[in-house]
């Protein structure tokens, strides 16, 4: 890549933060959605384990 590409014709300080912010938003979406699903799985797993334990106690 030549320096002209990185300097974006003098607009680098506007273009690159936009690209970085947009990529960060995509990454956050993916990370938070995976975390949300993992937390929901974990909560459901705990609820099932508690129900099983209660069933055995009876």
């Amino acid at each position: 890549m030549n320096s002209g590409f990185w300097s974006m014709g003098g607009y680098a300080r506007y273009v690159w933060p936009c690209i970085a912010f947009a990529c960060a938003v995509l990454a956050w979406n993916l990370w938070s959605a995976r975390r949300f699903l993992a937390a929901a799985r974990s909560r459901a797993g705990r609820a099932i384990a508690m129900a099983d334990a209660e069933g055995k106690a009876r």
Binding site: I19, N29, A33
Partner: protein
């Protein structure tokens, strides 16, 4: 057709479909966004007026389009949930809200960064910018309202109502540049006639749009699975789903 529609109301069916579709959506989204970014940042020529600053379009426009598309999806899902009492539709709306809010924030940020070199200011109380900011407030309002009730069903209904009322803002955003004097440029791509953008600039932009749509699909699939699991925790099928 109707059988398929009714199947979509079944939480285990939706959970399975979302799990199966997610990797495909994500894979094709990565390819489309990769092509769009390389095509837009490397191969597209500079704009004759804006120079290389125009390249912000490749992240600004997809985020702005998605902010409106996701809100409309959320409002339609809310309407389906209220009319047909389909719980999965509430889950779709709840899963969409944070995704749409993040796209709106990105559209505002990138628009503001584009405004500085072109208009000489990061922000102006312009009709397009203001209506997009209202969209962000609507997303935050819908998410806050949903979590403000102890009874989740009441929260879902209130959030659905607000999202349906707020959908009036979507045509306001779209036509704000036509109805009022605006600093913001008019439609470039979505014109009924010929788009006023060269093909070498247009194709990467369309690829970004397809990529963002599929990315939304992928993230929606992940969040929807989580929503369905949380809402159906007491159901027998969840036992199998959690084990797998």
């Amino acid at each position: 057709m109707w059988t398929w529609f009714y199947k979509l109301a079944s939480p285990p069916y939706v959970y399975g479909v979302a799990a199966a579709l997610m990797p495909w959506f994500l894979g094709v989204a990565a390819l489309a966004i990769g092509y769009g970014l390389i095509g837009g940042l490397v191969f597209a020529p500079p704009d004759y007026q804006q120079g290389d600053a125009f390249r912000i379009i490749y992240v600004h426009v997809p985020n702005a389009w998605m902010s409106e598309f996701v809100y409309t999806t959320m409002a339609v899902a809310g309407a389906i949930a209220l009319i047909w009492r389909i719980k999965v539709a509430h889950a779709v709306a709840a899963a969409s809200a944070p995704i749409g809010a993040s796209f709106t924030l990105a559209a505002l940020f990138t628009g503001s960064m584009w405004g500085k070199p072109m208009w000489g200011t990061y922000w102006a109380w312009d009709p397009r910018l203001t209506s997009e900011l209202i969209l962000l407030f609507l997303y935050v309002g819908v998410m806050s309202l949903r979590s403000a009730f102890e009874d989740p069903a009441r929260g879902d209904r209130a959030a659905a109502l607000l999202s349906i009322v707020g959908v009036v803002n979507i045509p306001i955003i779209k036509f704000s540049v036509v109805w009022w004097n605006s600093l913001h440029q008019g439609a470039t791509v979505a014109k009924l006639g010929k788009p006023s953008i060269a093909g070498s600039m247009l194709w990467p932009l369309l690829s970004m749009f397809v990529g963002f749509m599929l990315f939304y699909g992928a993230v929606l699939c992940l969040r929807l699975q989580g929503e369905v699991l949380s809402r159906e925790r007491q159901s027998a099928w969840v036992r199998e789903a959690v084990k797998s």
